[in-house]
Point group: none
């Protein structure tokens, strides 16, 4: 079940819009807002949502974090700051796995842009989720934190399967042999294999070079056409 | 080795700054810019980098994508649009694994905010990398695309995998370009690019065919010798 994204005391409508866009990028649509600084709805949110208006329109407003997560069985608090709380700290991947494995609704809490979540709010969660970032440069903005966790969720959820390879399969060996044979004959013509003592090793080199390409049948044909063009006298083609 | 982030024709300085911040969040520091719309340096970049100024200060400016990736052995083009290019399409995870496994420098190309990468620019890459997003809502902004791929890289980089044993590492991109340039010139000579309407797609096909080979510097040299031999009149050689 897709997790709910809970923005706690978000300051800028712009960032609420960006978060909505980040959510929808990875198929998340349920946003909950806890006392946004400038109230709700916020005219600044729409433009920066770049089309993710559906998320904003359905966003629900709450007075406290406790109310916002009342129906959630698993709650994760996104934070980078150290807390003197004894609770599990997970990476995004582990969080996604736990959401996946758990029955019922999950929620991910994100704090205000500057201040983040209050310790009391973090304490409401079952676990802390922390995106491992550069220790010398530890600042993720709200929308970035949302998109990274949404991305991590979506790959677990199956949305993020790598796209089908558009690669053509390599040509059968015989076709590569045909290409090498053609090339060999043309080079023989040109007196390329010289001196005779080097001929065999030169042929071996050519074979390895053209065998390793992984060219498809189409590509082998194209290269054979290129070789023909190169040895033809000008203009004969086209 | 950490990948280079190449922003191609970025429009807003703000987005360059956000991309820099996203990079540094996950330990990436080498940014390259190809003809940013508003020139470089751009006063709007600093503020939105939120402290990632070191990335902006070290950013290098280039006139073309080819120059920006000249020293890179593995190039990935970040794009969501379908292309009529036959090249591998990877997810972020696969990309990170390939960067990890490969010797030498890698680069990830990001296109302009609105228009993205030109097909000719994508054709310069060894593979397309696509973040699998919600098919009904397919819009990632520049900084978000950068942070997702940087995040994916950083999680791989954490795992201490030994670099793959490559007998010879692939030639730097500039050497492959040299080969393609030579071939292109010779084929032009022969009137191979005909009719004119098909010329560009034919050039793209040739580029993808020779970019995917993974040929080493030595092999590129050998193939260039072969091309010379094919166009030379008989006997001239040896």
């Amino acid at each position: 079940m897709d997790p709910v994204i809970v923005l706690v005391r978000p300051q800028l409508g712009q960032n609420i819009g960006r978060a909505a866009r980040a959510m929808l990028n990875f198929g998340l649509t349920e946003m909950r807002l806890v006392t946004p600084r400038d109230g709700w709805p916020n005219p600044d949110a729409g433009p920066s949502a770049s089309g993710a208006d559906v998320v904003l329109e359905q966003a629900k407003l709450f007075a406290t974090v406790a109310e916002a997560i009342a129906d959630c069985r698993h709650v994760f608090a996104s934070t980078v700051r150290r807390r003197d709380l004894v609770m599990p700290v997970l990476g995004p991947e582990q969080m996604a796995e736990q959401i996946r494995a758990s029955a019922g609704r999950s929620a991910i809490l994100f704090g205000a842009e500057r201040s983040g979540l209050e310790t009391e709010e973090v304490a409401l969660a079952n676990a802390i989720v922390t995106v491992p970032i550069n220790p010398e440069f530890g600042s993720l903005n709200l929308a970035q934190a949302v998109i990274l966790l949404a991305y991590e969720w979506s790959r677990r959820a199956g949305l993020a399967q790598p796209p089908a390879k558009e690669l053509e399969s390599p040509a059968p060996h015989a076709e590569v042999e045909g290409l090498i044979g053609q090339l060999d004959a043309e080079l023989e013509q040109k007196g390329y294999f010289h001196p005779p003592s080097r001929t065999q090793s030169t042929r071996n080199t050519i074979r390895t070079i053209f065998t390793k390409t992984g060219w498809s049948s189409r590509e082998v044909k194209a290269v054979r056409g290129i070789i023909r063009a190169l040895v033809d006298p000008p203009r004969r083609r086209g």
